[in-house]
Symmetry: C2
């Protein structure tokens, strides 16, 4: 709550790109900023959605638990992403749980302001629509992959997406820039950690990636892409 957020921090984000300075200032004036240490929880599935958020820095995983105890990762939240906007989904509670996969910094607004902002600020409405629209398209992509592709290809796609969204170039390749376990990858692709472990081991033998405890380094991006496209 302490941090003062300067306009310049959020201005480059697509969400704010079409807003005037005064509009941005107005919105920021209602925000509170918070920090979440690695592993900390930002909101919990099923609790009242009192706030919606914008991730400034770090990385979050949003998970859902099914009634019978199975868990899936709904998505990974990257810097610049809105998250927890349950109101837009016509919900009063959070459909998932968000916790920090790395030290994270985010802004929070009371949910009650969502409609106000959107109605007050057409540019925000359009941005928000595009944000959710993108998310919808990602979800469809995932459905398509799960429907039609075997596990190895799905894992390849998931890793490629992570590399694109959270990849940091490193001497040996592209480092996934936050802690990610095989279990996480399994929950992102609809398989088991055992299968993921086997697949990554095989890839490691072929020099495509390099694993480690909660670590992942992509060595051969094009090789992995070929694999994702279905070539053996």
């Amino acid at each position: 709550m302490a941090l003062r957020i300067d306009r310049s921090i959020v201005k480059p984000l697509p969400l704010f790109s079409r807003m005037s300075d005064s509009e941005i200032d107005l919105i920021l004036s209602h925000a509170s900023s918070s920090r979440a240490a690695q592993g900390e929880t930002v909101f919990v599935q099923g609790t009242p959605a009192n706030h919606f958020f914008l991730l400034l820095n770090g990385r979050l995983k949003v998970t859902q638990v099914t009634p019978d105890g199975q868990q899936i990762i709904v998505r990974v939240v990257h810097p610049g992403d809105l998250f927890g906007f349950a109101k837009a989904l016509q919900r009063t509670d959070y459909p998932g749980t968000a916790h920090a996969a790395a030290e994270s910094l985010y802004l929070a607004w009371p949910t009650s302001l969502w409609s106000f902002f959107v109605e007050q600020n057409p540019a925000l409405a359009v941005s928000a629509l595009q944000t959710i629209g993108n998310r919808l398209e990602e979800a469809h992509t995932r459905i398509r992959e799960m429907s039609t592709q075997e596990v190895e290809r799905r894992v390849a796609h998931a890793v490629l997406r992570l590399a694109g969204k959270a990849g940091r170039p490193e001497d040996g390749g592209i480092r996934i820039d936050f802690q990610i376990s095989k279990q996480d990858i399994a929950e992102m692709t609809g398989t088991t950690l055992h299968t993921v472990s086997r697949i990554l081991s095989a890839w490691e033998d072929r020099g495509l990636v390099e694993g480690g405890r909660q670590k992942l380094l992509v060595r051969d991006l094009t090789g992995l892409s070929r694999l994702a496209e279905g070539e053996k």
Copy 2:
């Protein structure tokens, strides 16, 4: 293009619920209405998204074809649903193909008006957000099911959703109110028509449903629900 659309036809739709009469009239004045006969195509995947639509009557299936020729059903469009609003997804082409599963009546607007409408009309923006939000949630539900449930439960859920959205009470049970093939159900649940056929045959033996060529009647809703919840 000929039909005149009266305000009263669209007014009950949630999309328009928060709009004034004059706003509705303005929007309708830009719409053209069309009819699609059963089997006819409304738009094709990959073609420029020149229009967005609202289904007034009938039923559409939106499909996607993967590069390697696999097909999935992205969703079924029910009366009152917006569809083909690629603009909101930041796309210039349609990500899928829509064709009529039954005789359908719909409105069409030039895509170029989308931003205009949304910015001009905050209530529409909020409605559209909720519409897409709902769709996103549906997609997540589907992902969750595909990740964690075996085929039979997924099919049960799919049939229950159809019954809810497109069910017409009939003396023997609930009739799915449009032509739907096993292939369709397979593409909605990420399996093959063979498996769907087997599952429905088994259900028919147990008196849960009654099948037919492109027909489906749900006989025992609660029994099917139990099955969907995981009870054998």
